[in-house]
């Protein structure tokens, strides 16, 4: 059993958390003309990196989204921080 640290609630059991997606995926602005290729990239392409990854996770009990940095091979959690902190 792994312990993840929610930036708001502190260390909790891994079963309280949900993987939401890779960090930094930006939805194309629909006001612009968007090609099928661009939509496909946005909808489907994953970086799916081996090693250090940055992801968005949700702590289900407090419903807050946050950034988790972890190693996708060892599963070690390297850092967790709020999305707000990341935006600054």
């Amino acid at each position: 059993m792994q312990i993840f640290t929610c930036p708001f609630c502190g260390p909790r059991n891994e079963t309280e958390f949900h993987f939401a997606g890779e960090l930094g995926k930006i939805r194309p602005a629909t006001a612009e003309k968007i090609t099928a290729q661009e939509w496909a990239s946005y909808l489907y392409t994953q970086r799916n990196e081996k090693g250090r990854v940055q992801e968005v996770w949700m702590h289900l009990t407090c419903s807050e989204l946050f950034v988790m940095e972890r190693d996708s091979v060892s599963m070690q959690v390297l850092d967790t921080r709020s999305l707000r902190e990341d935006a600054q």
């Binding site: 059993m1 990196e49 996708s72 599963m75």
Partner: protein, 416 residues
């Protein structure tokens, strides 16, 4: 290569089994090949075999960073089936089952394909209607299927939970009689031995570290054993497809997840078919050695670590106990995880990668083992001719741009 036959078995038995020889050579890599295949698992080895057998291309190398079949080929639950919904999938996976049916003879290697049937149970009246729809779809696609009622399921798998107070009572199920299990290592070894006999170089402990790209075309690979140039390169690396994609700078709609499986201590025969109970997400068969081979859903966290986690273990094993309460006291012997390459529509990707000279056979997700013969057969066609086979064409990666997805995740209820 010594042919495996009753005659040779008798002869070797009389002289202390000293004359069998190696099943395949271990050559040093040549500087140039007509085709280089990255990844010595089932799909890579099958591709090499069919390149040599069907297309006469024998100047071929299979590069494996570890040992043959050490990835997902040796980490699955050995189930072989073609109980899919869409015609495109039925054509693909039933080609695989048909090739498996003759594979032991074709390769002169016993892959122990046992067509013991597979039952997917239904647990309510609406689920029985969906089961009937599934049976009809499979039959229209030319695949064998039977709709079973509760008593017929009970007759075939009496170990299942038929108690009146069961949370999800069994109403019936879908049977594919031609489905079954195979010996996973034997599939890798059989293809390796047969490909080697046709002249293919199988090079283990040879890790591809980068691609050689000249004028926008992939013309070879940098490896831990030096540079190897190739007329065409094929990648059959399953969970590591995105790692090769990064080298080739093309995009892939793939997420790598760990998929766990379990084997129990050996038991006397208790189950002579494969059973999947969708409400619990658990499926089980019994191996020839007596161990129950148990599988479940994915760990829903992207991962390259070839090991599982406790919450999913608990869910899978709780499901097993609900399915077959008599197994509650059975001990586990081993458990492992493989890294599977999952696409948004749960269907594979075959064909051009986006980088000229490099082709893909990936995205099989949780179902790569059963597809090994078809994946190799079709990928050999693609590498040899540079164009799609009619069966592989719908699985081109362009479907994610055109929107022609083959969504088996939704259609046949694959648990991912």
């Amino acid at each position: 290569m010594t042919r495996y036959s009753v005659f040779n078995l008798l002869r070797e038995g009389l002289r202390g089994h000293t004359g069998w020889g190696k099943a395949w050579r271990s050559p040093a890599p040549k500087p140039v090949y007509d085709a280089v295949i990255i990844g010595g698992g089932g799909h890579g080895l099958a591709t090499a075999y069919y390149l040599a057998k069907n297309h006469g291309l024998t100047n071929v190398a299979v590069l494996e960073k570890g040992w043959l079949g050490g990835g997902n080929t040796g980490r699955n639950t050995t189930v072989i089936r073609s109980n899919y919904f869409y015609p495109e999938s039925a054509a693909l996976y039933d080609l695989s089952v048909r090739l498996y049916e003759n594979l032991s003879r074709d390769l002169n290697y016993n892959v122990m394909f046992s067509q013991r049937g597979m039952i997917v149970t239904a647990h309510s009246e609406p689920e029985m209607e969906m089961a009937a729809r599934q049976v009809n779809a499979m039959r229209l696609n030319g695949v064998d299927a039977e709709l079973l009622d509760r008593d017929q399921v009970r007759k075939r798998a009496p170990l299942l939970n038929f108690r009146a107070d069961m949370r999800a009572p069994i109403h019936g199920g879908v049977l594919q009689p031609r489905a079954g299990t195979g010996r996973h290592d034997a599939v890798a070894w059989g293809y390796a031995r047969a490909a080697d006999a046709l002249g293919v170089d199988i090079i283990q402990n040879c890790e591809v570290q980068d691609l050689i790209v000249e004028a926008g075309r992939c013309v070879g690979v940098h490896t831990s054993q030096g540079d190897i140039r190739a007329g065409v390169v094929g990648a059959t690396v399953a969970g590591h497809s995105s790692v090769i994609a990064k080298m080739g700078r093309y995009e892939l709609p793939i997420t790598s997840y760990a998929l766990q499986a379990f084997v129990s201590e050996p038991l006397k025969p208790v189950l002579d078919t494969v059973v999947l109970c969708p409400p619990f997400g658990t499926y089980v068969s019994q191996s020839d050695k007596g161990g129950l081979v148990i599988g479940g859903g994915l760990d829903r966290i992207p991962s390259y670590g070839q090991r599982g986690n406790l919450p999913v273990q608990e869910a899978v094993l709780a499901g097993l106990v609900e399915m077959m309460p008599a197994l509650a006291s059975v001990k586990l012997l081993r458990h492992w995880a493989g890294i599977v390459d999952v696409t948004p529509d749960s269907s594979p990707i075959l064909g051009p990668s986006g980088l000229d000279g490099l082709f893909l056979n990936c995205g099989w997700g949780t179902g790569g083992f059963k597809a090994i013969p078809a994946g190799g057969y079709l990928f050999a066609h693609i590498l040899a001719t540079g164009t799609h086979h009619e069966i592989s064409r719908p699985f081109d990666r362009s479907r994610f741009v055109t929107g022609h997805l083959i969504d088996e995740g939704a259609a046949s209820g694959i648990a991912h």
